[in-house]
């Protein structure tokens, strides 16, 4: 995976951009929107929260929420965008995905758990999304949405680091926050191949975008990772480079699972023969 780091350096710049745009103490998107609206609220990842908005879709509160804060419209825009261009948010901007992925790259390969090719994470994630929707419909969405929010935990850590203030109690004052931190960042992040375990198994926002991408990729007019068998020497470097385990080997060829692909283009950068590209056909 480290092989593709240099060629795909722009993606890591986008990771930083994602942090500056959405995460406190910067949260530039929310900061600008609140300034425009004259709001006294603190700009943070909550201002653009995608987990709550997914919950509101299923509990029927999304419209009211968007009227109160137009930034929440992102939960509609992102799947539409993913339909035509792939889940670029997940692959290029999402701080809750980019941080554990980046840290996982620093972990020695031998210390990492490799579950790629051994199971279908998309099935687990869609199951998780179904449960998430059911809880929202039953009016218990907050018990799985806010109490297990990896975005909130991530933001507290980023904020503490940038502000050099480690006395913040908000992560440590509830068990689910502590468990989320350990599972999201350590077990499914740093110690897992690709570092995208939370994205693969338990991200409802990613699940919706992947579903949109899987549907959109059937059309010839949409963008996706395209595999060219004539340029493939079956070296398998694309499989190793994929952080979401979306690429698997099949009979002297590779298969890309659109339900997992986040169009990060790590495979495109890793393949020296040009066997993979991001295009419409």
């Amino acid at each position: 995976m480290k092989l593709s780091f240099g060629k795909n350096w722009k993606r890591y710049m986008f990771f930083l951009v994602g942090i500056f745009l959405f995460v406190a103490p910067f949260a530039l998107v929310a900061r600008f929107a609140y300034w425009a609206m004259g709001s006294a609220s603190k700009p943070s990842i909550h201002s653009t929260c995608l987990r709550m908005t997914v919950e509101w879709i299923f509990s029927g509160r999304l419209l009211w929420a968007i009227i109160g804060n137009p930034l929440y419209v992102a939960v509609i825009v992102l799947p539409i965008f993913a339909f035509f261009f792939g889940p670029l948010w997940c692959g290029w901007l999402c701080p809750a995905g980019s941080i554990p992925e980046s840290l996982s790259r620093l972990t020695p390969r031998k210390a990492k758990i490799d579950l790629s090719g051994k199971m279908n994470p998309a099935a687990i994630r869609y199951g998780y999304l179904a449960g998430f929707a059911l809880f929202a419909i039953l009016g218990l969405g907050f018990t799985v949405c806010c109490y297990w929010c990896n975005f909130a935990v991530m933001e507290k850590i980023v904020e503490d680091i940038f502000l050099l203030n480690f006395s913040d109690l908000a992560i440590w004052a509830y068990s689910t926050g502590i468990i989320t931190l350990v599972v999201w960042l350590v077990l499914l992040g740093v110690l897992l191949k690709g570092g995208r375990g939370w994205c693969n198994f338990a991200c409802p926002i990613g699940a919706i975008q992947s579903l949109a991408h899987a549907l959109g990729s059937r059309l010839s007019c949409t963008f996706k990772i395209v595999y060219d068998k004539s340029k493939c020497n079956d070296c398998g470097i694309c499989i190793k480079s994929c952080p979401t385990w979306a690429i698997t080997r099949s009979k002297n060829s590779v298969t890309i699972d659109r339900h997992l692909c986040i169009v990060c283009k790590e495979c495109v950068a890793a393949c020296h023969l040009g066997g993979l590209r991001y295009s419409r056909k």
């Binding site: 006294a40 609220s41 179904a130 449960g131 998430f132 908000a170 440590w172 004052a173 068990s175 926050g177």
Partner: protein, 181 residues
């Protein structure tokens, strides 16, 4: 078949996490709502968002004995409570000040509003009639001193909302921190 098993695994994991949240919901970072102005004797609010969680209204009771193990290990004897919902149910606008009644232990107040005055505990923006404070996140962290840790009732007081201009009490929500095994 395999897809179905994994799908059920994902749903099961979600259910487990949801039920775990429900098991600690009355002991860790308890969220509550509070309305004002409220006449004496009327209920001011309760656990959960407006309307109440499972219909529960005041008093807000936090039972430390039900805390989860990770919290007990990482953050013992600090009790967090939080609100996003302070609602003006009256007919005129108010600027409000908040007070914790009967509280002698150290408490950290954490508010996300730029209009929050941490010295006077005043929200320096008018709360309009029939509206909540938009984007509010207000947390309290009670640091329970050693001498209170063996008591059955650690705290018996509440949150008082006062009109910042006149000093008139607008609302009072009873809050209790207990140890009930």
């Amino acid at each position: 078949m395999v897809f179905g098993v994994l799908f059920a695994l994902g749903t099961g994991a979600l259910f487990l996490s949801g039920f775990h949240s429900l098991s600690v919901i009355e002991s860790e970072m308890v969220h509550f709502h509070i309305n004002f102005p409220v006449a004496e004797g009327e209920k001011a609010g309760g656990v959960g968002p407006p309307g109440g969680f499972r219909g529960q209204l005041q008093p807000v009771v936090i039972n430390i004995a039900k805390e989860g193990l990770p919290k007990r290990i990482c953050c013992p004897w600090i009790v967090g409570i939080s609100t996003h919902w302070i609602t003006n149910i009256g007919e005129k606008e108010y600027t409000i000040r908040l007070e914790l009644v009967n509280c002698s232990m150290p408490v950290d107040w954490v508010c996300t509003l730029s209009t929050w005055d941490p010295q006077t505990k005043t929200i320096r923006q008018a709360v309009l009639p029939h509206q909540s404070i938009p984007g509010l996140s207000l947390d309290w962290f009670f640091r329970i001193p050693p001498e209170l840790r063996n008591a059955e009732t650690v705290y018996d007081g509440g949150l008082r909302i006062v009109d910042a201009q006149t000093g008139q009490v607008l609302s009072f929500l009873p809050i209790k921190i207990v140890v009930r095994r």
